[in-house]
Every structure is written in structure tokens, then in C-alpha cells.
């Protein structure tokens, strides 16, 4: 495989694509949002259970390419236990990482597993794929869930 391509499709990404984590609808979510990329038809639904500004649980469902699916999957594993402020901060950092925003210093260490998405910046057409779940998560954070949960 070409090096640049290998950089995009790292083993972690292929793995999360094949066996996505937290791939289900949360029964007791209180925030949710649907993300849709009309250009490629990628869809993702993010579910959040937030208590005292702490993300107690997070999950997703949807369909999309390996990049978008792995991005959503990895995001859910990282956000669990974070505060909503930390989630917003991570979103900013992740966004800078995938767009290759030079104005910001990206601390790869701090990004942890998310650093596998650094290769995306070389593929302008795939930036939206990697960003979809994160944008949807932010929109879910902002609004109360309109989805009726099984708890009510």
C-alpha cells in the first residue's frame, strides 16, 4: 500500500471500522443529534447521557465510510467520562488536526489515539468524513434531545 494511503488507513482505523465501539442507541440518552453529509450520504446519530456536565455515556449509529465510522467510534471511547467543556476543547483540537490548521500547535501526545487521524489532512475530500461525528456531537451537546428516550 502507498505510504500516504497507509497513513490515512491506519490499522486502528481499519479495526474501528470493522468492529465499531459503542455502536448502539443509548437507551437513557438525554442529548442526541443526527449528522448527515449530503455530498456522500454519510449519516451518523450521536447519543449522549450527560449528568452534571459530565458525559456519563456516549454512543453512535449510522452508516458511512471507514474514516467516518472509525472517527465516530474512537470519539465515543475518548469522550466517556469527560466534561462537556473538555469535549468542546477536544473537538477544536481534533478539527485542527484533520484540517492541518497551522496556526495551532497540535500536541500529538495529548491527542492520544485520535492522532491516527493526522493523515486525513492530506485528503481534503475526506476531512468532512472524519469531522462528521464530532460536529454532530457538538450539536447534540448544544441542544436538548428531541428524541424520545425509553426512560420517559
Amino acid at each position: 500500500m502507498d505510504d500516504e494511503l497507509k497513513e490515512l488507513y491506519q490499522q486502528v482505523i481499519l479495526d474501528h471500522n470493522k468492529s465499531p465501539r459503542n455502536f448502539r442507541e443509548l437507551g437513557n440518552h438525554n442529548h442526541s443529534s443526527e449528522g448527515y453529509n449530503p455530498l456522500c450520504g454519510d449519516k451518523v446519530n450521536i447519543f449522549l447521557d450527560i449528568e452534571d456536565k459530565i458525559i456519563k455515556d456516549v454512543s453512535f449509529v449510522g452508516s458511512g465510510c471507514a474514516i467516518s465510522k472509525a472517527s465516530a467510534s474512537l470519539m465515543t471511547t475518548i469522550l466517556k467520562g469527560k466534561t462537556t467543556e473538555e469535549a468542546k476543547d477536544l473537538f477544536e483540537k481534533f478539527h485542527n488536526l484533520i484540517t492541518g490548521n497551522d496556526d495551532s500547535e497540535i500536541d500529538i501526545e495529548e491527542m492520544g489515539k485520535l492522532a491516527v487521524f493526522a493523515g486525513v489532512k492530506e485528503f481534503p475530500s475526506r476531512v468532512k468524513c472524519a469531522g462528521l461525528a464530532w460536529h454532530t456531537m457538538i450539536s447534540a451537546l448544544k441542544g436538548e434531545s428531541k428524541t424520545v428516550t425509553t426512560e420517559t
Binding site: M1, D2, E4, L5, L8, Y9, L14, N17, K18, L39, C40, G41, D42, K43, S63, G64, C65, A66, I67, K69, F123, S125, R126, C129
Partner: protein, 419 residues
């Protein structure tokens, strides 16, 4: 391909040498990601032969002027070349008169012209327009816009699992409320060649005019608007080896005559006062503003080029490619071809188990293979087959069996990585 048009002319087939033809297209020598370019995205746009590129160059070097206006040498030269190109288009689709050939920006603008002009005067509340489930968005949205304005309705001819129109349902949809049928000749996402003649005959029994979206047909087989008896026909230059930004609307003269202008401006008028404006004759009534002269002339050259190669040659070569690719791709495990119509053009849309089309596209790109992935501006087709997107390989006269081998090998690689 169409059964009635694949008669093999042995002599002409023998004279068709794809390697010689490839030399006409400079871009085919491109190296993409270190690999020889394998351009299989012809349904999106076709590449341009040197002779078309030269025409554009020459126009700006030797003829450039505004047309129908100046009395100077260059303006006359440009006007002459522009009108000669209209004549070429007329002959190419066998229209009766040059008045029936309107230059537009492309298929989309051509359809919008009919929707806005014909639609505006002929649609009233509760009237209906019939389209199909396999239309490109450009043959859906213009009708939705005018239908919303007029409180008219859009009726949809459904498609079966093979991706063919269900004609019995079409007949049921026709009523006295139907004001127009607008249908695609060849589906860009499924490859289906629709039985256009049959549809036109059925609609005409009820005096309903028919518009044909021929964007995906025009470079693959001959079109005779008089034999088809279609009322409107739209196509784009860039899908038949011509420049982008130029297209054609054919319309029967009597219909175009009674239609109001689509856009107002220069060239489309004969007299303007603040009290009243009289419009120019056909086709100029529909060509407001400075025309895309260079690209119209380039289109004329592209049509000449296609004609010189000959549709018998093009059809037999492309049918060979389609059959070869269908057989080759069908053998790949986990690959499903979407669109398996009996009458099919040079398009293979496919899905892979466990690999999203976007990933297929990116991987193939690194093999130098250009295909299209996504919904192909036909979201209702994707919904019909309950898929988010497909990968699509589409062929043109310069493609080879070797390229299909490269494609098949590339797909197998993708499957391996994701398994």
C-alpha cells in the same frame, strides 16, 4: 446497449484502433499517484481530444469577438463559426431546423429553461408532471421549483429491482392533468437505457409533450429527434468530448414559438422601449446575453470528431467493454452490481460488502483509477435500493480492456485490505 443499433459493420470495426484514438486525448498520458491514469469516470465528464482543445485555442487566437452585434471582421467570423456549430448540432440530432437548437450552459440549464418557460405558461393548480425514480437531480429539482410555484404535482414512474422503469405504472399515471413527461434516456447511476420511443408514443396518444434528458446518451449512440418525435431534448457538451459550460436544448419549433423567454437581456430582443419589448426570433429568443461562443464552436468540433469515428465503432467497442467489465467485476466476491437492466449503457455501479464506496474511491485513486463514488446526484435511486452510495465505473470510446483489468485488480486489493 440497444439491440437495434448494435449492427456490426465489420469494415468500420476493423478500422477502429483504440490505441490510435487514445493518442487524440493528451490527458490520458497523465500519471496519477505514480500510476498510469485509468480514467473511468466518463459519465461525470469525458476527456477532450486535442482537436477540441485546438479549436478553443484557435478561437481565442484568431476569431474572438462578440457575435450577432459587430459589423467588423472578427465579429462576422465568430458569428459564422458559432452558427456553423449550431448547424452541426442540428445535423447531429437530425432536427428539422436551426431554430430548434438553443445553446445553453448544459443539460441542467436546458431543463430549467423548459421548466421555467414551458412550465410557467402551461402549468396550473393540480396539474401534473411525470418524471421517474431514476432521474438525476437536475430533472427533479427544476420541476419541484415550478410545481411549488404553481401548486402542481410531480408523479414518479417507479423502477424495478433490475433498475428498469415499470411502464405499466407509467400508463396508470397519465391523466388529463398531465402536462409534461420528462424522462432520462440513459440513467447515470444505473446505466439503464429507457424505452424512450415507447414512452413518447404513449404520452403523445394523450397529446402530452415529452422532454428527454440525453446527457448520458449523446456520446454512446445516435439520436434522431425526428424519429423519436420527442418534444424537447437536452444534453451537455462536456459529456461528448466537448467543453464544459456549453449544452443544447432541442425543442420543436411550434412549442418553442409559443413559449415565453427564459431570461431577458441582449440578443434575445428585436426592439426594446420602456413601454414594450418585442422578442427576437428563434433560437435567439432563448439566448439572452453574450453566448459561450468558444465552447459552442468547440462542441461543434467534438460532434465532428464523434461522427468521424462513427457510432457503429463506438457502440461495438463500448459494448465489448461493458460486457467484459460486467463479467470481470461480477466474479469478485462480495461485489453487487446495482442496475442490471436488459438494455444498458456504459455504466457499472457497484457495492462491496463491508467496504464503503468512499474508501473504494480513495484506494482506487492511489492505483491511478478515477471512478465516481457517492449518490451520483440520484438520491432517490440510492433510497430505492436502500444503499447510501455506490462506486461507479463508466466507459468511453478511449477505454481499454486492460484498464478494466486494472480496475478489477484494484477492487480486489481494496477487498483484501478491508477483510
Amino acid at each position: 446497449m440497444m439491440k437495434d443499433s448494435t449492427t456490426n459493420n465489420v469494415e468500420k470495426t476493423l478500422s477502429f484502433d483504440v490505441n490510435k484514438i487514445r493518442k487524440d486525448f493528451p490527458i490520458l498520458n497523465t500519471i496519477a499517484h505514480g500510476k498510469k491514469l485509468c480514467y473511468l469516470d466518463n459519465a461525470a465528464t469525458t476527456q477532450k481530444p486535442e482537436i477540441v482543445i485546438e479549436t478553443l485555442n484557435n478561437y481565442y487566437k484568431t476569431k474572438n469577438a462578440n457575435i450577432h452585434r459587430g459589423i467588423h471582421y472578427l465579429s462576422e467570423e465568430a458569428t459564422k463559426a458559432f452558427e456553423e456549430s449550431r448547424e452541426k448540432v442540428k445535423k447531429f440530432i437530425n432536427a428539422k431546423s436551426n431554430k430548434e437548437i438553443i445553446f445553453t450552459r448544459g443539460t441542467t440549464e436546458s431543463i430549467n429553461l423548459v421548466a421555467n418557460s414551458f412550465g410557467r405558461v402551461n402549468l396550473k393548480e393540480n396539474d401534473e408532471i411525470i418524471i421517474s425514480q431514476m432521474e438525476h437531480h437536475s430533472n427533479i429539482v427544476p420541476w419541484q421549483l415550478i410545481a411549488a410555484e404553481k401548486n402542481a404535482k410531480i408523479k414518479i414512474i417507479p423502477i424495478n429491482d433490475k433498475g428498469e422503469l415499470i411502464l405499466e405504472d407509467f400508463e396508470k399515471l397519465i391523466s388529463e392533468k398531465t402536462k409534461l413527461v420528462s424522462i432520462v434516456y440513459v440513467s447515470n447511476s444505473l446505466g439503464t437505457i429507457n424505452p424512450i420511443k415507447e414512452i413518447i408514443n404513449k404520452a403523445h396518444k394523450f397529446n402530452i409533450p415529452v422532454l428527454i434528458d440525453a446527457a448520458q446518451a449523446v456520446s454512446h449512440f445516435p439520436i434522431d429527434v425526428q424519429a423519436l418525435d420527442c418534444d424537447f431534448l437536452a444534453f451537455s457538451g462536456h459529456k461528448i468530448y466537448g467543453p464544459m459550460g456549453i449544452g443544447v436544448l432541442y425543442g420543436k419549433e411550434n412549442l418553442l414559438d409559443m413559449m415565453p423567454p427564459f431570461m431577458g437581456g441582449g440578443d434575445m430582443i428585436s426592439k426594446v422601449t420602456f413601454e414594450k419589448t418585442t422578442y427576437n426570433d428563434l433560437p435567439y429568443k432563448f439566448e439572452a446575453g453574450t453566448s459561450n461562443v468558444a465552447d459552442a464552436i468547440g462542441l461543434g468540433t467534438a460532434l465532428d470528431y464523434t461522427k468521424n469515428i462513427g457510432f457503429e465503432n463506438i457502440q461495438s467497442h463500448e459494448k465489448e467493454l461493458l460486457d467484459y467489465a460486467t463479467e470481470k467485476l461480477s466474479k469478485i466476491e462480495g461485489l453487487t452490481i446495482i442496475g442490471q437492466a436488459e438494455e444498458k449503457g456504459c455504466v457499472i455501479s457497484f457495492c462491496l460488502d463491508n467496504v464503503h464506496p468512499h474508501d473504494v474511491g480513495t484506494f482506487l485513486d492511489f492505483e491511478g483509477i478515477a471512478i465516481r463514488t457517492g449518490h451520483h446526484c440520484t438520491q432517490p435511486v440510492m433510497d430505492r435500493f436502500k444503499i447510501p452510495a455506490t462506486s461507479r465505473a463508466s466507459f468511453a470510446l478511449y477505454n481499454t480492456k486492460e484498464e478494466i483489468d486494472v480496475l478489477a485488480a484494484g477492487i480486489k486489493k481494496v477487498v483484501e485490505v478491508f477483510s
